[in-house]
């Protein structure tokens, strides 16, 4: 408790110091903890640190890259015990526990700076809790349906835009002896993506968010309508069998081998499809089809972020690093096809010329008028997300258990949001 009090006083002092010219020479140590541990993201964070170091030669930057999964539990320890100056995390509800515990620094002052306020306006909502901003985004990526264009052509199908077309397509695909969709639900979250889309198309973005906030019962008829739509696909054999045994990577070969024709997934799957041998002529992308024409389309676009821990020691340098991360130039570079291969958040940055990045950028800027959600396990509180995704997986295997599942989720809702 004492240390939190002390650092908030210190934080006030730093903010006061910062209100002077921001480009004072930085010195001292800057400790960065990152979860960008996969090969491409690792090169990106190392490159960013190197370029930032060249700008500030007097600053001694110490980068620690931690395995992405291990990071999710370690962050709790190092934020309280041995806080770095900059740390990676995720937007929306996922940062809630740390914001509430006073472990993330309020960086609304950064967001008040004109460059950031304008360039990052699209994600301001996802970074805001209690009217303040707690981090900055460095990348995001679209979700959508990746499909086998060649098989669609062979069957005389085109990418569906309505639910009727979707079901008609799927029937043709099932009749040809394939599954419409591959999915690996062993680690549950993939089923969360399906629910996000079906619920946002059936009931709209606002309803989905109300459900995430715990304002609507899981046993509500509107939720049931979402599951009824889902069930149409399940009953016709739309999904591959035994998906509860596979991870999302293990479900990839079904699509690559042509046993399934599409995959509802994030854009991070594209390099895997390409490595699997699919060319850009074989692989296509379409936005999840409309179910109710009166509902504006909403999309999932998970945003990855940088934060300053409240216990950081060099907050001045940390703020400067965050400014550097969100700059248009840096975001263009780190998100291009040779690096992350994702979408930059800064509106002034350029999108690399890649078929899927272009499609995603176009979809998110022009055709996501309903809103942009983060993802099931980032929008829903952790405990609700865990119980929810387990229920979704069970529903996909035993759709008849729906009533029982919804009762259970409703019980969880009542204890989580009390």
């Amino acid at each position: 408790m004492h240390s939190i009090l002390k650092t908030s006083v210190a934080a006030g002092a730093t903010i006061a110091a910062l209100s002077g010219p921001a480009f004072a020479d930085l010195s001292g140590d800057l400790k960065i903890f990152s979860d960008m541990s996969n090969p491409a993201p690792r090169a990106v964070i190392e490159g960013m640190v190197e370029r930032f170091g060249e700008l500030h030669p007097d600053l001694n930057i110490e980068l620690t890259v931690i395995d992405r999964e291990a990071y999710k539990t370690q962050i709790r320890n190092f934020l309280t015990a041995d806080a770095p100056d900059v740390a990676n995390w995720y937007a929306a509800n996922r940062m809630g526990p740390y914001v509430e515990a006073g472990l993330f620094e309020d960086i609304s002052d950064l967001w008040a700076e004109p460059e950031i306020a304008e360039a990052l306006a699209s994600t301001k909502g996802a970074m805001t809790i209690d009217g303040a901003q707690w981090g900055v985004p460095y990348t995001y990526y679209q979700w959508g349906v990746y499909y086998r264009e060649d098989i669609f052509a062979e069957l005389g199908l085109s990418a569906p835009s309505t639910w009727e077309e979707e079901l008609a397509n799927c029937q043709v695909i099932v009749d040809s002896g394939r599954a419409c969709y591959t999915i690996g639900s062993k680690f549950l979250w993939t089923a969360g993506g399906w629910f996000d889309y079906l619920n946002m198309r059936t009931n709209g973005f606002d309803f989905h968010m109300q459900l995430a906030q715990g304002e609507v019962a899981w046993t509500d008829d509107r939720v049931r309508a979402t599951f009824a739509n889902w069930r149409q696909l399940i009953d016709m054999g739309g999904f591959i069998a035994d998906h509860q045994t596979y991870s999302w990577q293990e479900a990839l070969p079904f699509m690559v081998n042509g046993e399934a024709t599409a995959y509802l997934m994030g854009n991070f799957s594209v390099p895997h499809f390409r490595e699997g041998g699919l060319t850009d002529d074989q692989l296509g992308f379409y936005q999840f089809p409309t179910i109710d024409a009166s509902i504006a389309p909403a999309e999932d676009a998970p945003t990855d972020t940088f934060h300053i821990p409240a216990n950081a020691s060099n907050k001045e340098a940390a703020r400067e690093f965050l400014r550097f991360v969100v700059s248009a130039e840096n975001q263009t570079l780190i998100n291009n096809g040779e690096n992350l291969g994702q979408l930059p958040v800064n509106a002034a940055s350029g999108v690399d010329d890649d078929e899927f990045l272009n499609a995603g950028f176009d979809m998110l800027s022009n055709n996501a008028t309903g809103g942009v959600a983060q993802f099931f396990d980032r929008d829903f509180p952790a405990e609700m997300a865990a119980a929810g995704m387990e229920g979704l997986q069970e529903f996909m295997v035993f759709p008849d258990n729906l009533d029982d599942i919804l009762e259970r989720l409703e019980q969880t809702r009542q204890s989580v949001y009390e």
């Binding site: 526990p97 515990a101 035994d242």
Partner: protein, 304 residues
């Protein structure tokens, strides 16, 4: 002078009580570590289980609410039942280990090689065992389904079926555990008294009667150790579950230790109080066995 110093030594309190103090001094390092790393954490688990705490904020005292929630929680019920399935079925490792050790307890060329091959699964990591078995069970192209197909049987997805998955994991766990029991019995068989066997043979005992009345009673110490390690193994069956099914499908393969980890420490967890309550229940189950082991060891010591 010499007498005076001797008297002084005799009067010394330390010297007078040395028979009492020495054992305690020897025990002291062990006791200190036992208290810090075992007793204190157990007490702390009991304490935390009365709180609602996310590991970050201020714990809120909720009394027995975590426990009353537990008994309404179906996932907990499933975990508890699975724990008992593990406890019972894991004991199969003992007779299986005995059988293999009897089979291997002979002098033929290369017997050391066979023994090491049988012992091999215990040497490799549980994680590898889990991976090997999950490939074995794969619904598409797994060895099990290939073999079933030879006998004209349909495909089964062992780890994807909530009714079968737990048994599938227990079978994987039995592989190294049987090897462990085997090695215990092999060493036990070395100390079987050949004269008693000779005598039994003269009295006309052979086969199963010889085994039951002469060999097995002499293997009692080995059986006891095998029982202890198997029970402990069954109760800490965490790694196989984590590797093979991650608790799924939809939570049907969780055991208490896994559920405790999920609730307290996993990505979506951090309900420390609830996790601690699960830990307390698991501890009480273990306490039954610990009590039994201690009691029977005490009886043994007394008998000597």
């Amino acid at each position: 002078m010499a007498n005076a110093s001797l008297d002084y030594q005799k009067d010394n309190w330390l010297h007078r009580n040395r028979m009492i103090i020495t054992p305690w001094l020897f025990l002291l390092p062990g006791i200190i570590f036992f208290v810090i790393y075992v007793v204190y954490p157990i007490a702390e688990s009991f304490r935390v289980s009365f709180y609602k705490w996310d590991g970050l904020g201020v714990p809120e005292y909720v009394g027995l609410k975590n426990y009353s929630d537990l008994f309404k929680d179906r996932a907990f019920e499933i975990s508890l039942i699975n724990n008992f399935k593990w406890l019972i079925l894991y004991l199969l490792a003992i007779p299986a280990g005995l059988l293999i050790s009897l089979f291997l307890n002979q002098n033929v060329r290369g017997i050391r090689l066979y023994k090491s091959l049988f012992f091999f699964p215990f040497v490799i990591s549980q994680v590898v065992v889990g991976l090997v078995f999950s490939w074995f069970y794969l619904p598409n192209g797994g060895l099990l389904n290939e073999v079933l197909a030879v006998f004209g049987m349909g495909k089964i997805n062992v780890l994807g079926d909530p009714k079968l998955a737990t048994y599938g994991i227990i079978a994987a766990g039995l592989w190294p555990q049987t090897a462990y029991c085997m090695i215990l019995y092999l060493t036990g068989l070395n100390s079987v008294d050949p004269e008693q066997i000779e005598a039994a043979r003269l009295d006309g005992a052979k086969g199963s009667r010889m085994l039951w009345h002469v060999i097995i009673p002499q293997l009692k110490p080995a059986t006891f150790i095998a029982f202890v390690v198997t029970i402990i193994g069954a109760l800490r069956s965490f790694d196989l579950i984590s590797i093979m099914t991650n608790g799924g499908p939809f939570g049907s393969t969780r055991v208490l230790s896994f559920y405790m980890f999920e609730k307290a420490l996993s990505e979506y967890g951090f309900r420390m109080g609830y996790g601690a309550a699960i830990a307390v229940v698991l501890f009480l189950i273990m306490l039954c066995f610990i009590g039994y082991f201690l009691w029977s060891m005490y009886q043994d010591e007394k008998g000597r």
